[in-house]
Symmetry: C2
């Protein structure tokens, strides 16, 4: 089945907005065993939209349009798709009546234009919209002796997703070739993208029945596995087999196999141990605390800490002796460890974390270049200090540093 | 001129990856007065890519392909575009020789496949790639008595952007219809999107010669204005006139008209005053400090502060009396102000900022619901405490709260 997603809306042809619905739709289609072959983005322009619709209908069996279903003159998806199909639009009087009723209930008079939203392509089924006024449409027809499906969905993501789940999914399930899928996500911390890929590509390329997508962020490489097979068992076995080979190769760099973020994993470990964490961060400037507290319920294991951006605050909040800073510099193994140890003591925490480094772009020297970061962790008995040099811009260096810090806590508890 | 951007690569047809090059390319084209009519995304699939290329070449005068120029069997853009154009591919022997040389210099033998990167469409100019091995191509031809331009660019953004700036821009400038553009960005803090749009739409809709895009994030609404005219003066006047009408309407909610972020503006104000800031944050958990320190050079005006997530730390780091917390609750006007005043004193800062609230999803009560946030700022003389109720998920509430906190500092210094 050749599937195409067409996003309609001039705002997605500006430098500021992406079509994000297609990511959701692609994920949903993949779970039905359907791959997306084309994505097209076109503006609210009658001739161009009609030409895009004609092209899509000619090359794809499943065409999903999103957007352009509102009441204004700019909303042209209905007209253009009908034209490309060579079918009439018919106004659904029941829908119009329902709209009048809704407006009347709110003591508003309905703008004339609104009735356009009740224009339905001849032969199409109406897909009710519980989160907005624009209904969707579903049309099934035979084209060149094959089944063709055309779906019109509203643009706002929460309306589109609700309509998909409630109306489209079950209809598609009845039509999509019978297949089962299995997915798995393996997340690793602190490995470089190209090094990981060199190690793992020979493994995942052997599995032609599993689609592997490698995503790399700052200090994080993720493997997204998707297997499609005739039975659920077969699909499960395929991802399982590849996943375990990958995990063997990647070892303890793997921190999650069920989708959790690193901050969630650190939280789970802390909770399991009944341990409380406190943080003293310099170059990350609050990013580690922000990531930890982005997880709901983090107050159960995260006490807080200090953003000791200036040297004075390193002394004031984390008791780092000025002489230590003078002797080794604020960016040093010694100061990182002092931050971790002292913030643990001061906050009465079980685990203390300290981070100091040079995020740049200024402040680097030959001896201590931009990107040099020391992270330290301690539980009062054992401690670990890591020296790393990260590359890239300020944001990237800080992100890598926060990842390193969280990973240190994870490894301490492993 | 009808412009189309075609992104080639199967990874952009997964649920995980977007085509981001087209945002950059659209911005660049807009500055030349060229609007983008179509964006298409297609995988590394010979037949599908050839069909997309044929469609694009038939409906657009300017077609920009990105991706699919590497050395592997999957890199099919050259072949498919040549086929759609009905032109031959010719191997450029000088390019091949240069590749051999580059490999030899590194004492590597060149894989045979690499020579495919020297296959040039007949009549096309080679666009050198200073950041990678895949060269780009520029083809100009007459099609239906009109000029048609076809550009092939590499997929990695840093290669594509460098090639665009060095090779494509000047070529296009010579061809694009003479026009001048002017842009302006107006950013506002702490206004709701629909309320702002209701107030401003009647204004910007009057200006048919200025394209206005309204972007809304958490606690931030931005207006991106773009005018195209025959002269720079005319374009400038158009944006200037609309911008000043918008600013009159939006008043002091406007924090920037030259693109700065709120954290940059706060930094500029602090530097202008020679003032130092310290922060005590509870529900934002470090987000305010993280945003402030994301700006290079922020150590000149930001000292740091405390993430007082637990009540104990509110007392330990910000000297909030336990009795005050008991009397009013940790989420209260009184505690917010104590956090601001005390963190200022303790850190010896000029300005203190305190934030306390309920980010949710748990922890809310009827009296103090999820989303309730108190922010306080003081410079030792005057102070301000704001009570707000934010809606949405944890991330959204925290983001609004951090925006409110930064905006309070800005307003204190206005």
């Amino acid at each position: 089945m050749i599937a195409e997603i067409v996003a309609v809306g001039s705002e997605m042809l500006t430098p500021f907005r992406q079509d994000t619905n297609s990511l959701y739709l692609t994920g949903q289609l993949n779970e039905l065993g359907i791959n997306v072959a084309f994505k097209t983005i076109v503006g609210d322009h009658r001739q161009q939209l009609a030409s895009v619709a004609a092209t899509a209908l000619q090359r794809s069996n499943l065409v999903i349009f999103s957007g352009g279903l509102g009441p204004t003159e700019d909303d042209l998806t209905r007209e253009c798709v009908a034209e490309a199909l060579g079918l009439e639009l018919k106004r659904d009087n029941d829908l119009v009546a329902a709209m009048y009723k809704r407006f009347a209930e709110r003591r508003l008079s309905m703008p004339e234009n609104n009735a356009r939203q009740a224009d339905i392509i001849s032969g199409a089924q109406v897909l009710p919209n519980r989160r907005g006024t624009a209904v969707g449409q579903w049309l099934q027809r035979s084209q060149n002796e094959a089944l063709q499906i055309v779906v019109l969905l509203p643009g706002p993501p929460h309306e589109l997703q609700a309509m998909w789940e409630r109306e489209v999914l079950s209809r598609l399930r009845g039509i999509a070739p019978p297949s089962a899928i299995a997915t798995r996500v393996i997340k690793t911390a602190m490995l470089g993208e190209s090094a990981v890929d060199a190690r793992t590509a020979p493994i995942y390329k052997k599995y032609s029945n599993v689609q592997t997508t490698v995503l790399a962020g700052q200090g994080q490489v993720e493997f997204h596995l998707l297997a499609t097979a005739m039975s659920k068992q077969e699909a499960d076995e395929a991802v399982e087999k590849l996943a375990s080979e990958l995990q063997d190769e990647l070892g303890d760099a793997v921190f999650s196999t069920s989708g959790e973020s690193l901050e969630e994993i650190v939280g789970l470990y802390l909770q399991m141990r009944g341990a409380k964490l406190a943080v003293a961060e310099s170059c990350t400037g609050g990013m580690v605390a922000e990531r930890l507290t982005s997880v709901a319920g983090s107050s159960r294991y995260f006490l807080g800490g200090a953003v000791v951006y200036s040297n004075d605050l390193k002394t004031l909040f984390a008791d780092v002796p000025p002489l230590l800073i003078e002797a080794h510099g604020a960016v040093s193994r010694e100061v990182a460890l002092a931050l971790a140890e002292n913030i643990r003591d001061i906050c009465n925490a079980d685990i203390g974390l300290g981070i100091t480094g040079i995020a740049g772009p200024g402040g680097g020297t030959e001896e201590k270049p931009v990107g040099l970061v020391y992270t330290a962790v301690t539980d009062g008995q054992k401690h670990e200090v890591v020296e790393r040099r990260f590359f890239g811009d300020r944001e990237r260096i800080r992100r890598w540093a926060s990842q390193q810090a969280l990973d240190l806590v994870r490894r301490l508890m492993m």
